[in-house]
Subunit: 215 residues, 2 copies
DNA sequence: GTCTTTTTTTAGTGATGGCTATATAATGGT
DNA sequence: ACCATTATATAGCCATCACTAAAAAAAGAC
C-alpha cells in the first residue's frame, strides 16, 4: 500500500543522517538551516518542514539516532564478562568512537548544546537528559558486577559510575580538541588504574564521620 | 595627566567583568551583542566598539581575564608540597570553582566555544590554545615532583597529566549539567585513587614492545 | 572663547536567522 | 477523466545578527 499523495523525492533516513553530521560538527546553534538543507541534499524549506517539523525536532531525531548508534556500541562494550572489563572496554570504545576518521570528533550528545542560548533551550535540555543516563547505565553494570561477585560488596558504585562517566565526557572534549586516539586510550588506561583502589574503598556511610574539631 | 578628549562614562574593567559573565553563561555564539551591552551597563554600540574593538576581541579579553583569575587559583592549588597533593588540590579546586554559587557553572575556557561555527573560528581556536596549557602545567608540576623525589622516577608523567586534565574537562561538563559540589569532589577523589598505581607504572618505551604474533 | 580630541547619542545598515504563503507537480482512488 | 492528497518549487516574511555613519557633547590645550 503506497502512500496517498505525491511521493517524497528524497530519502528521509539518509537526510536525517546527513543532518546529524552537521549538528555533530556545528552544534545545535551553529548548524544553520541553509547548511542543513544543503547537506540533506538541497531539499527546499517546505519539504524539510513537512518532513521534520522544525529545526528543534530535527535535532531531537538526530540526537536519538546518534544516541541509539553510539549507545549500542557502548552497551555492547559494557557487556563484558566482568564489570571491570566492561568499564575498561567502554572507555576504550569511547576513545575510539570519539576519534573516528572522517567526520567531526567527540560526541554529539556531550558537545551538541552545552551552552544555553536564546533558541536552544529544548535541545539543550534534551541532551542533558540523555547525558544523565550515562552514569546510570555504568552504575547498573557495576551493580551487576556486585551481584556477580566480580566486584566486592560495599564498593562505592555510584561514585565509580560518576567518575567514569566524567572521564567519558572529558574524553569528548579532548577528542574535539584534536587529541589522538592513542592519547585518549592512554587516558582510558589511566582511569582504569583507579579501579582496584576504588572497589576496595568502602562506601561512605550516611552519617557524616565524627570530626575532630567541628569548629 | 588626564586623557585628552571626553572621558569614558563607564568603568571599562567592570564592563569587561560583566561581559565575561555573559560569555560564561551563553558561550561565544550564544552571547548576543545586545545582551552583552545590556549587561555591561547599557552602553551604546559605538562606545563599545571604541572601547573593545569587536565581539571577538572582547571575548579574548574576557577569556584572558577568566584564565588569569582561574589560572591563579589552579596554580596556587598545584603549588602544594608534593605533586600528588598538588594535583589533588587542583581537582578539588576545579570541583569548587566550577560550582560557585550565583553565576553559571563550569568553565568558560572549556565550555565557551567547543563547536566551530561560522563566525567563531578565532574564539574557538583561542580557547583551544588555552586548553592546551592545561596538561602542560600539570605535567610541569609532576615533573617537578620527580625532581623533588616525591614521585618515582620513570612515572608516566605525560599520561598522568593528560589523564588529570581530561578529568578537569569532564568536571566542567558535569558542573554545567548541574552536578553538586559533593559529587564533583567525589569524582576528584576517585581520580586521585589512580595516583599510586599510575606512578609505579613504568613509562612505555619508545620502541614498540615485540608482539607475539605481528600478524 | 575657540580648537582639538575623544566619547556619546541616535538612528540606522546589510546579512542572515528560522520559517511560511502560494501556486504547481505528482501520485492513488473512483 | 477527475478529485483528493501529499510534496515540491518559488519567493518571500519578519526578527535578529554584528556593526557603523553622522552629529552632538564633554573634556583639555591655548
Amino acid at each position: 500500500m503506497a502512500p496517498r499523495g505525491r511521493p517524497r523525492s528524497f530519502d528521509r533516513e539518509q537526510a536525517l543522517r546527513s543532518a546529524m553530521e552537521v549538528f555533530f560538527a556545528r552544534g545545535y546553534d551553529g548548524a544553520t538551516l541553509d547548511e542543513l538543507l544543503t547537506a540533506m541534499g538541497d531539499i527546499a524549506p517546505p519539504s524539510f518542514y513537512s518532513a521534520f517539523g522544525s529545526k528543534d525536532r530535527l535535532f531531537r531525531e538526530a540526537a536519538d539516532l546518534y544516541y541509539t548508534t553510539m549507545g549500542g556500541v557502548m552497551r555492547a562494550a559494557l557487556d563484558a564478562p566482568t564489570a571491570r572489563e566492561g568499564v575498561a572496554r567502554l572507555l576504550h570504545a569511547a576513545a575510539e568512537q570519539f576519534c573516528r576518521g572522517d567526520g567531526p570528533r567527540g560526541c554529539l550528545i556531550i558537545l551538541g548544546a552545552l551552552n544555553s542560548t536564546r533558541g536552544n533551550q529544548d535541545a539543550h535540555d534534551y541532551l542533558r537528559s540523555l547525558r544523565q543516563e550515562g552514569p546510570e547505565v555504568i552504575r547498573a553494570r557495576i551493580t551487576r558486577g556486585v551481584s556477580d561477585a566480580d566486584v566486592p560488596a560495599g564498593a562505592p558504585v555510584s561514585e565509580m559510575a560518576s567518575f567514569y562517566s566524567t572521564v567519558v565526557q572529558g574524553l569528548a572534549v579532548r577528542a574535539r580538541d584534536g587529541a589522538s586516539r592513542q592519547a585518549l586510550t592512554a587516558v582510558a588506561d589511566a582511569a582504569m588504574a583507579a579501579w582496584d583502589p576504588l572497589v576496595s574503598r568502602p562506601r561512605r556511610s550516611r552519617r557524616a564521620p565524627a570530626r575532630s574539631k567541628p569548629r
